[in-house]
C-alpha cells in the first residue's frame, strides 16, 4: 500500500517529506523497543529495592 500520509513526525517543523508505512512501522518498532528497555530497567530497580528491603540489616550479618 502506498502513502501519502502528510503528517510530519516533528510537528514543530513541518516537512514536505511523506511518511511511508515503512517509516511508521520503524518508528512504532523503535517506540516499542524503548518501552521494553524502560520496563526492564524499572524491573531491575524494583528487584534491587525488594532485595534490599527483604534482606534489611541481615545483609551485614553474614559470616565472614
Amino acid at each position: 500500500m502506498s502513502l501519502p500520509v502528510t503528517e510530519s513526525a516533528d510537528m514543530s517543523e513541518p516537512s514536505n517529506e511523506p511518511v511511508t508505512p515503512g517509516d511508521a512501522r520503524s518508528r512504532r518498532r523503535r517506540m516499542r523497543s524503548i518501552a521494553i528497555a524502560l520496563a526492564l530497567a524499572a524491573f531491575v530497580v524494583l528487584f534491587y529495592l525488594v532485595t534490599i528491603a527483604k534482606l534489611g540489616s541481615n545483609i551485614l550479618q553474614r559470616p565472614i
Partner: protein
C-alpha cells in the same frame, strides 16, 4: 547493527502483520479494571493486621496489578472473535486488527509468569499462588469456558475480580482470614448486578456475539429479578465488616445508606420495561454500582489508615 525485517529473511512471513503500538499493549492490560484491582488489593493490604515494608507493599501492588493486566491481555487474545462483533469492544487492539493475536498471547503469558514469580519472591507464595489462581480463573475458567457456555458466566467468573483484596491481605499476613473473605464476598455479590445492568442495555451486542448473557438466554424480566435479588443480598453482605467488628460506625452508615440507594436503583430497574426509561434505569444502576464499590472500599481504607476510628 543493521535491522532486518523477518519478512526479508523468510518471505512467507507477512510484512504487513499488524504491529501493536506501546499504547495498544497498555490497552491490553485493561487499565480501568486494573485501577479497581489496585484499589481493592491496597485496601486488603492496609486492613491486614500486620506491617509490611513500604517497598514490599508497592512491589506487591505492582505485581498484583500486572497479574490482573496479564489476564486482561489473555482475555483479549482469546475473545478477539467476540470483541470484533460487539460495539463496546471492537476497538480493542486485537479485535481491531492493530495487533497480531500471538503478540497479545505472548505478552499476557510472559506477564503472568513474571508477576506471579515476582509476588512470590517479594512477599510469600500463598499470595503468589492466589494471584496465579486468579489469572487462571479469569483467563481459562471464565474466558475460555464459562463466558461462552452459561448465563452464570459472570456470577462464577466474578470470583476472579473479587480475589485482589484476598491477595493483598495474604501478601501482608501470609494467611487468608474471615475478614479478607468478607471483602471477597462483597465484590463477588456486587459483580452480577453490575454486569447484568450493563447487559440489559447491551443485549443485542451479546446476542450478536453469541454470548449467553442472562438477558439473551432468560430474557430481560428474569434478569431484572436476579439483579434485585443479588442487590439485596450484596447490600446485606456489605454490612458484615461492621457486624464482624473490623469496620467502624462511619463505614456502617455509608454502607447502609449507599446499600439502600443501590437496592432502590435495582428496584427501579426491576419495575422498568424495555424502553428508553428502562435503559436509563439500567445505565444509572451500572454507573452507581462502580461508585458504590469505590466508596465502600475507600471508607474501609480510610478507617484502616486510622482516620475514621474503625479499628482503633
Amino acid at each position: 547493527m543493521a535491522y532486518v525485517e523477518r519478512s526479508e529473511i523468510d518471505p512467507s512471513i507477512d510484512a504487513e502483520e499488524p504491529l501493536g503500538s506501546v499504547g495498544d499493549f497498555f490497552a491490553l492490560l485493561k487499565p480501568r479494571v486494573m485501577s479497581l484491582v489496585i484499589f481493592t488489593a491496597l485496601t486488603g493490604m492496609v486492613m491486614a493486621p500486620a506491617g509490611v515494608h513500604p517497598i514490599l507493599a508497592v512491589a506487591a501492588l505492582i505485581a498484583i496489578a500486572v497479574g490482573a493486566g496479564a489476564s486482561g491481555a489473555l482475555n483479549m487474545w482469546y475473545d478477539a472473535d467476540i470483541d470484533k462483533v460487539m460495539r463496546r469492544t471492537r476497538g480493542r487492539p486485537v479485535a481491531a486488527g492493530r495487533m497480531a493475536p500471538g503478540d497479545a498471547l505472548a505478552f499476557g503469558a510472559m506477564l503472568s509468569v513474571a508477576s506471579v514469580t515476582f509476588l512470590g519472591l517479594a512477599t510469600n507464595w500463598l499470595a503468589a499462588g492466589l494471584l496465579a489462581f486468579t489469572i487462571f480463573f479469569y483467563a481459562v475458567v471464565y474466558t475460555m469456558w464459562l463466558k461462552r457456555w452459561t448465563p452464570q458466566n459472570i456470577v462464577i467468573g466474578g470470583a476472579a475480580g473479587a480475589l485482589p483484596p484476598v491477595i493483598g491481605w495474604a501478601a501482608v499476613t501470609g494467611t487468608v482470614s474471615i475478614e479478607s473473605l468478607v471483602l471477597f464476598a462483597i465484590i463477588f455479590l456486587w459483580t452480577p448486578p453490575h454486569f447484568w445492568a450493563l447487559s440489559l442495555y447491551k443485549t443485542e451486542d451479546y446476542r450478536r456475539a453469541g454470548v449467553p448473557m442472562l438477558p439473551v438466554v432468560a430474557g430481560a424480566a428474569a434478569t431484572r429479578r436476579q439483579i434485585l435479588a443479588y442487590s439485596v443480598v450484596m447490600a446485606l453482605a456489605a454490612m458484615a465488616p461492621f457486624v464482624l467488628g473490623f469496620a467502624g460506625i462511619a463505614y456502617a452508615v455509608i454502607a447502609g445508606v449507599s446499600g439502600i440507594a443501590f437496592v432502590g436503583l435495582a428496584l427501579r430497574v426491576y419495575r422498568s420495561e424495555a424502553n428508553p426509561a428502562g435503559e436509563r434505569a439500567a445505565r444509572d444502576l451500572f454507573a452507581f454500582s462502580i461508585l458504590y464499590l469505590f466508596v465502600l472500599f475507600a471508607v474501609l481504607l480510610v478507617e484502616a489508615l486510622g482516620f475514621g476510628g474503625g479499628l482503633a
